[in-house]
């Protein structure tokens, strides 16, 4: 479990996160949602250890991050997988080399053992035939799948995804969402997804944290989000014309 207590973070005197307290459970897809500028990415980067909070604690399965020494922090980071918004694949490496990279860095496996593991994860994300291609030679959806494969190749305990389906067509976005959900259950990991895509919320939102101007405004699951009377949440959810029309139709009894 990841437990966040009273998390504060700011830049150049401007407060971005203002006392966030929440927790995320193992085996669940946890979504952090909110409008642009609400602090989602800063929150995710604090959880990843890329930003140091000004105040508050983050506990990873009982270990408080700020109490860990450099070596322990490094060990903890090796247990984290991250899927970046733009995939962040190493563009000079092939798909296979990208996925193999964490294994080369952190394991003492032989090359054929590493290759077996890489084939296994690439098969899991349905990318068996793209091994020798460079990231620039594959589509955005495929790049996201390579990023997921790279993130899970070392069997991490925590998976972080920053807007994993941004820039993808709706069909591919659903494929990516479902892939992340399946992997979360299969590997029994804690997955945190930073998104503002309501389709993702409806598909995989087992726990949803809604951020508004750096505050935790609401938390619940995908069934509760359509029933809440929290104005900020309803404004966000029904900012989409499609959702607005569905709600109007429901209200009219159609």
């Amino acid at each position: 479990m990841i437990e966040v207590t009273n998390l504060h973070k700011g830049f150049n005197g401007e407060k971005i996160l203002k006392g966030i307290t929440t927790s995320f459970e193992r085996g669940k897809t946890n979504l952090i949602i909110g409008t642009s500028g609400s602090g989602k990415t800063v929150f995710l980067k604090c959880l990843l250890g890329l930003f140091t909070p000004e105040q508050g604690n983050i506990c990873y399965d009982g270990a408080t991050y700020s109490d860990l020494n450099t070596e322990q922090k490094r060990d903890l980071r090796e247990q984290m997988g991250m899927v970046f918004q733009g995939s962040a694949l190493f563009d000079s490496m092939t798909v296979e080399e990208n996925v193999m990279f964490p294994l080369q860095m952190f394991t003492k496996q032989k090359k054929d053992e590493m290759q077996d593991r890489v084939h296994q994860v690439l098969q899991r994300v349905n990318l068996e035939n793209a091994e020798k291609k460079l990231p620039s030679e594959i589509s955005g959806g495929m790049q996201k799948r390579v990023a997921i494969a790279r993130a899970i190749v070392t069997r991490p305990k925590y998976l972080f995804c920053d807007e994993p389906n941004s820039g993808l067509d709706p069909r591919t976005a659903i494929v990516i969402d479902n892939l992340i959900k399946e992997i979360t259950e299969e590997y029994d990991i804690i997955t945190m997804i930073n998104t503002h895509d309501m389709n993702s919320v409806m598909e995989i939102g087992e726990k949803i944290v809604f951020l508004q101007k750096g505050h935790l405004e609401w938390e619940g699951d995908k069934s509760q989000i359509f029933q809440t009377d929290n104005k900020a949440v309803t404004d966000f959810v029904y900012s989409s014309n499609l959702f607005k029309k569905v709600r109007d139709a429901q209200l009219k009894g159609l």
């Binding site: 890329l50 490094r74 991250m82 970046f84 962040a88 694949l89 563009d91 080369q104 860095m105 972080f160």
Partner: protein, 245 residues
């Protein structure tokens, strides 16, 4: 204050580069790749420039020797001194600041923009060591490039001087051997070694700490070139004062 802040960050970066080393086998491959990109990849342009610089130095010297009392051997002597002391180490390093420097800044800057550096950090890798250390080690081969440039430069001077009809082959070679001070080579290679470190680290600094998008990568490359050149020129003055005066 702004510059002091940058200078402080530059030295902190150097400290970061030499801490938490990347796995040896990975590092070895990275160093070989950097040698290929930074050293082997620069060989062609270096040889080309050195040859023509040497040739021009010889012609200029010959054309300015109007006094018949001054022996023609001076062309060989002046070419050797100019090429070994300044043109090969300093002039070529300024050009390398453009070639190698902008390559380093843009490649690291693009990794910053596309979150590849964040990806390294999230994996628990010391991105400074992973990205900059192999470049510094690769650039330790840079004195070899300059040694070749010195040889080719003098060869260029010989071709232009002798085949341009300015002096005989014997005169050139006599001038070349005249009053040769081996310490001048030591001085030139000490300078080259310092420039190699500057060429690897200043552009890395500008690439690593850049913020923004594609436009800023271009701006960072330009800034890196300007600063690397400025620091090389200042270092040249200080080293000349310290080592030759």
């Amino acid at each position: 204050m702004f510059y002091l802040d940058d200078i402080g960050r530059y030295f902190l970066m150097l400290k970061g580069v030499f801490s938490r080393m990347t796995k040896g086998s990975v590092l070895r491959n990275l160093i070989l790749k950097e040698i290929d990109d930074l050293i082997i990849g620069s060989m062609g342009i270096t040889v080309f420039l050195a040859f023509f610089i040497g040739a021009v130095v010889a012609i200029q010297t010959a054309l300015n020797l109007t006094n018949p009392l001054i022996p023609k051997q001076l062309i060989g002597f002046a070419s050797r001194q100019s090429i070994i002391l300044e043109f090969a180490p300093t002039f070529l390093s300024v050009i390398m600041a453009g070639k190698v420097g902008s390559f380093i800044t843009s490649s690291i800057g693009t990794m910053r923009v596309t979150e590849q550096i964040d990806a390294l950090e999230v994996m628990g890798i010391n991105s400074l060591n992973y990205l900059v250390f192999p470049k510094i080690i690769a650039m330790l081969m840079y004195p070899f490039v300059i040694a070749i440039a010195m040889f080719v430069g003098i060869f260029g001077a010989y071709i232009a001087g002798v085949y341009g009809g300015f002096l005989s082959s014997v005169d050139f070679i006599t001038g070349l051997q005249e009053e040769f001070i081996p310490y001048h080579l030591v001085y030139a290679f000490i300078k080259t070694f310092i420039y190699a470190i500057l060429l690897a680290t200043i552009p890395s600094f500008h690439g690593y700490y850049m913020k923004g998008g594609a436009l800023e990568v271009g701006k960072a490359s330009t800034t890196a070139f300007v600063w690397t050149t400025v620091v090389i020129i200042i270092a040249n003055y200080i080293l000349t004062q310290l080592l030759l005066s």
